[in-house]
């Protein structure tokens, strides 16, 4: 199980353009739909813990690994998810600097904007609909998205507000 997880997360590492949010739907598809290692609700709860804890949101991979295969699974999942992308960053760092003004780099970057947007919204959607689309979840997610978009409040306020609404509505 750990090997399966490591292999899959390492593959995901290389397609995670846009970062963690972009791969949340695919990870959920694997651990919930395909493997049945946890429910969609548990997946959203693990994500909540990673968001609430201080630190980078990539730590959610460690929690998913931990849920599936204990602490060793957590460390393996985090390493597998960060490793391949890190090696790529390591080896491409110098090359990227030299290509600063290359026209293909600009084309590439422009192409990535709408794709990242679509992927990141998908990540938000699957996390916000653990029991399918319901009005309570839609309310919490829309309120949080609108607050982030329109204000400069620290996101911890939106997470706390989500907790309060969750307590009242579910």
């Amino acid at each position: 199980m750990i090997l399966h997880l490591a292999f899959y997360f390492a593959l995901l590492s290389l397609v995670s353009v846009g970062g963690i949010p972009s791969v949340m739907p695919e990870m959920q598809r694997l651990v919930v739909d395909v493997q049945g290692w946890m429910s969609a609700a548990e997946y959203t709860q693990l994500f909540a813990i990673a968001q609430a804890a201080p630190g980078p949101n990539v730590l959610v991979t460690a929690l998913i690994g931990w849920k599936v295969a204990g602490f060793a699974g957590g460390l393996v999942a985090l390493g597998a998810f960060c490793g391949p992308a890190a090696v790529l960053a390591y080896s491409i760092g110098g090359y990227w600097d030299r290509m600063r003004d290359a026209p293909w780099r600009r084309v590439f970057q422009r192409a990535l904007v709408p794709i990242s947007v679509g992927f990141i919204v998908s990540g938000g959607y699957v996390l916000a609909t653990p029991q399918g689309l319901d009005w309570q979840g839609a309310l919490i997610a829309c309120a949080s998205a609108a607050t982030l978009y329109a204000t400069r409040l620290n996101p911890l306020w939106m997470l706390s507000g989500g907790g309060v609404l969750g307590f009242l509505l579910f």
Partner: protein, 146 residues
């Protein structure tokens, strides 16, 4: 690193960050690898990455263990689910900010909406969607549609 220690110039830091946002993988993790390499080679990368992750990892496992003890309580579960949904909302808000330059670009909006449709609603694998989307995006960007 930029403001207190002055190890990196602000412009330089922004360049490294831009690279790491574009590359796959966690942004902060990649930044630590690129900067660690610059000063101390491969070992620097490993040390920088481990240093960045160690303490937050303790935190997040601590919280997860705490939650495991209380997860049978429906009220606790409701609160945590609410936090997770709000976290999903934060992603959506972030994407909306990122989407601002697309306002004048109908093809960009169409591409973003299609990605959402096939992934979130259609539940198609990212490994299928990404190559197709990249190809479409590349051609559209070449023709100045994006």
């Amino acid at each position: 690193m930029v403001e207190e220690r002055r190890w990196v110039a602000p412009v330089d830091f922004a360049e490294v960050l831009a690279l790491c946002q574009f590359l796959p993988g966690p942004n902060v993790g990649n930044v630590s690898v690129v900067l660690g390499r610059r000063w101390f080679g491969p070992l620097g990368s490993v040390v920088a990455f481990a240093g960045l992750m160690a303490l937050p990892l303790v935190w997040v496992f601590g919280l997860a263990l705490l939650y495991a003890d209380f997860s049978s309580n429906p009220a606790v579960r409701a609160v945590v689910t609410g936090v997770g949904i709000a976290g999903g909302g934060l992603f959506i808000g972030t994407a909306l900010k990122l989407a601002r330059p697309l306002a004048q670009k109908p093809w960009g909006i169409a591409l973003a909406a299609s990605c959402f449709g096939v992934i979130a609603i259609g539940r198609v694998s990212l490994f299928t969607v990404l190559p197709v989307a990249m190809l479409l995006g590349w051609f559209a960007a070449r023709r100045d549609l994006l």
